[in-house]
């Protein structure tokens, strides 16, 4: 079997704040195959964005990767030199962000910002970069790309700017694209367009996507594999069909049940009781214990371990036995 493109193994990213240590990512493992779309789902503060920034090597003080490894194309990104990391970033490893309105520098033209990575990574001159840049804008469905190329970000709508971000991220044909809630800030109609665009583009190029979202609808639309995160940990991971059909973790079930369905009549929307605790308020045992309707005594006392419940289906919950999965096997669950 081929090696995974990205293997995150027992990653721990902690933030050393004045109030104490926040384990934003706490023992997270998953892998992404070539051409695959993997979604990380979770509420705000679940550690999904920190996970993606860890992969990009963009964790800033007071945050720090304190354990685990991130294998990208066989090389460990943790502890890689700044210089080597920069060569990957924007090149083989690209990222688009949640806020298209603020993610582009307001004082430089679209072309200037688009050409930057093309010139840097593909060693093109200004004219060649312009040609590639305009080509990319055309690819992401921007009308009159040669005009937009010379415009400044404030002249474009949110959807257009996100298209520019995608063009920028894909301009160097990355192997992995990390998309951190790329459609959250957009109108629903634009959202659908952007998702379709991303899917089309990567089908063409074979790029893998790590898709961060809190929207299960988007997950169902996009993902091959799904990782559910809660409190900095992976609570469940499975392929998208299994996850929606047989969710095992009470949190996953809660998330799915609280999404309204078009063919179901409900008097009231179901919601998961309580809110995500603050960084220092997680219970000692299972982090979800306080909000879990199926909570047992054991859950409050002991952190659950990962249990394998099916092919490529793992869950971190005491409800599903105590069979501990060998962590070394986990990378190959697909």
């Amino acid at each position: 079997m081929e090696h995974a493109l990205l293997t995150v193994n027992r990653l721990k990213t902690y933030f050393y704040t004045e109030a104490g240590v926040v384990p934003a990512v706490d023992d997270v493992s998953f892998s992404i195959q070539k051409g695959e779309i993997v979604a990380i789902v979770g509420e705000s503060g679940s550690g999904k964005s920190v996970t993606s920034l860890s992969v990009m090597g963009l964790i800033e003080e007071p945050g720090k990767i304190v354990g685990g490894e991130i294998l990208f194309a066989g090389k460990d990104l943790v502890g890689m030199s700044m210089k080597k990391m920069r060569e990957l970033r924007g090149n083989q490893l690209a990222m688009i962000f949640q806020e298209p309105l603020t993610s582009l520098n307001p004082v430089f033209s679209i072309g200037n910002q688009l050409a930057e990575s093309i010139r840097l990574h593909q060693k093109k001159n200004k004219r060649e970069a312009r040609k590639i840049g305009i080509e990319m804008l055309k690819k992401v469905g921007i009308a009159r790309p040669d005009k937009v190329y010379d415009q400044h970000p404030h002249a474009l709508s949110g959807g257009m700017r996100q298209r520019v971000m995608i063009a920028m991220a894909l301009s160097c044909n990355p192997q992995l694209l990390i998309a951190d809630e790329p459609t959250t800030a957009l109108d629903v109609t634009i959202q659908a367009q952007i998702l379709r665009l991303m899917k089309d583009l990567i089908e063409e190029s074979g790029t893998s996507i790590l898709f961060i979202t809190h929207d299960l609808g988007v997950v169902a639309e996009m993902a091959d594999q799904v990782i559910v995160m809660y409190g900095g940990q992976v609570v469940e991971q499975a392929d998208v069909y299994t996850l929606f059909k047989e969710p095992k973790h009470p949190y996953t079930k809660g998330l799915i049940d609280s999404t309204p369905k078009i063919d179901e009549w409900k008097e009231e929307l179901v919601s998961i009781p309580g809110t995500v605790p603050g960084p220092f308020e997680f219970p000692e045992g299972c982090k979800f214990a306080d909000r879990c309707p199926f909570v047992m005594d054991k859950c409050k006392a002991e952190r659950p371990t990962v249990t394998k419940v099916g092919k490529g289906h793992e869950v971190r919950c005491w409800l599903h036995g105590e069979k501990v999965v060998d962590l070394n096997e986990r990378a190959s669950f697909t």
């Binding site: 920069r86 924007g90 603020t102 520098n105 307001p106 930057e116």
Partner: protein, 304 residues
């Protein structure tokens, strides 16, 4: 461009209002005749001089005459020197401009690297030293720093001339005296606006492209802090043109500041008026230049 034409035309009423305020203040301050005549002058002498200078006319007549003359390019004659007041101011203007520009350059050369540096290395020892230096620079009075510089570099080591204007060497100590004070404030401003900019989403985007830290900091972040930097440079330059009096005195620098204070002491109305007009003109022009630069620096800013 219509916007700037409008702004330039607006200068005229602003200057008119300024003449009125200054004229009124000088009028209230008292009669210059008493200072012009010897102490034993008779009442008749005083009355005669007042009549000759038109100072016995009512306020509105004097002011009206003043404005009418001004519109014809005549800013009045100095009682003291018997010369055209505006010409006297123009004689001093190059010295003032020279010192102002040199001081701003000193401030920029210190503040920009130090501000960026302490922002990128926030809370490091460099940042602490820079912050300490900025507080010290702000707290040190100019006259004290000027005298200390003279003591060290002119008296003890004879590297620079003690005072006066002439060669480039004459310019260095007064420019450092004024420049360091401004640099202190500017460093704080650049540091805080750099810190704000460095936290923006587009900085993360720039980093995610694999750009070198230098490009992220100097191209993407610093370019966005230029609007506040231009603002403070414009403000400080206009302040320098009007108010370098203390430093001018310490270094016997023949600028407008000295001329103005002497004129105030002598109640030499025409020179006070001419000085204030020139200073006001520069304040307005500096603001105009700053507004114009904003447009170039930030494409989102467009005046209509």
């Amino acid at each position: 461009m219509n916007y700037f034409l409008k702004r330039i035309l607006e200068i005229i009423p602003v200057l008119l209002i300024i003449t009125f305020i200054v004229f009124t203040l000088v009028f209230i301050a008292g009669d210059p005749v008493a200072l012009l005549l010897p102490e034993d002058a008779t009442t008749e002498d005083i009355a005669a001089l007042q009549a000759a200078l038109g100072l016995d006319d009512p306020f509105y007549v004097q002011y009206g005459r003043y404005v009418m003359n001004m519109l014809q390019g005549d800013f009045g004659t100095s009682f003291r020197y018997g010369e055209d007041a505006m010409l006297l101011v123009f004689e001093r203007l190059p010295a003032t401009l020279e010192l102002a520009i040199a001081s701003i350059l000193v401030a920029i050369m210190i503040a920009i690297p130090l501000g960026i540096w302490s922002a990128t290395k926030k809370n490091s020892s460099i940042d602490l030293v820079a912050t300490g230096a900025a507080v010290l620079g702000k707290a040190m009075p100019n006259f004290w720093l000027g005298i200390m510089l003279i003591l060290i570099f002119s008296v003890t080591y004879s590297i620079f001339p003690v005072s006066g204007r002439g060669s480039f060497a004459h310019l260095i100590l007064p420019a450092i005296t004024l420049g360091t004070g401004i640099a202190a404030e500017m460093t704080r401003l650049i540091r805080s606006s750099m810190l704000e900019t460095l936290g923006q989403d587009y900085i993360r985007t720039a980093k995610s492209k694999g750009l070198r830290t230098g490009i992220v900091v100097y191209k993407h972040a610093f370019r966005n802090t230029l609007v506040p930097v231009v603002t403070i440079i414009a403000l400080q330059t206009s302040t320098l043109i009007g108010g370098t009096l203390i430093t001018e005195t310490v270094f016997a620098w023949p600028g407008i500041g000295q001329l103005l204070i002497q004129a105030v002491n002598n109640r030499d109305m025409a020179i006070v008026q001419a000085c204030v007009m020139v200073i006001a003109f520069f304040v307005i022009v500096m603001n105009l230049i700053a507004d114009f630069l904003y447009q170039l620096l930030d494409p989102r800013i467009r005046y209509k």
